[in-house]
């Protein structure tokens, strides 16, 4: 893969689907993914993977079992392996995810939101 500058806004302009992360880079054992989110996802956890959510544009709520985190532009959080979480966005939000290549978007859950094979953009 050539070494190049990746611009967030340009990448987010390439797709519109919600809850379908796109791979934009790889870093050691991790993928860098961009996702658009709107509405409510699925309660889930990842058995073996910590997951980073970085908000590029908009507002994302990460519901945990004991509290909610409200992330605006320039905010991020790390959800450790094993911790149940539910991403929710009232309005469209653009999010950078960083997680191991092995990570399934719905973690321990398989449902209609599960995406088994992610596309590169």
């Amino acid at each position: 893969m050539p070494i190049e500058k990746i611009n967030c806004a340009e990448k987010f302009a390439l797709f519109q689907e919600y809850w379908t992360p796109k791979i934009v880079g790889e870093l050691n054992d991790a993928h860098i993914k961009f996702a658009k989110m709107k509405g409510e996802f699925t309660w889930h956890h990842h058995d073996n993977e910590d997951e980073l959510f970085f908000v590029i544009k908009g507002t994302l709520t990460i519901k945990l079992r004991d509290k909610d985190l409200s992330l605006g532009e320039g905010d991020f959080c790390i959800i450790p392996k094993g911790v149940e979480h539910l991403p929710v966005a009232d309005e469209e939000v653009h999010v950078m995810l960083i997680e191991p290549k092995s990570t399934r978007n719905t973690g321990n859950v398989a449902n209609e939101k599960t995406v088994e094979k992610l596309d590169w953009i």
Copy 2:
């Protein structure tokens, strides 16, 4: 470590030194680091670690042996292991770095810019 929201601007307000990355989170085998950069760093490479540079504020030039990458706010690049690079910033720039915990800031080089033990903020 508690699960919490991390705000980039708040973290960058906590320190001023240049070229001294601060750890702000851990994600699997990686550290998330914030660094302020101004001036010219040191040509170096990392034998075993890919390294991500994400510009939060300002402009960062990453010189490679065959080209320069100019990264503005919302731009990032990934420097694969083994690739020589030189970060340069005419004005102060705020950068998020993501790299394995084993990474030394000056890679294969040891000089006055080497920081052997990074602080958490």
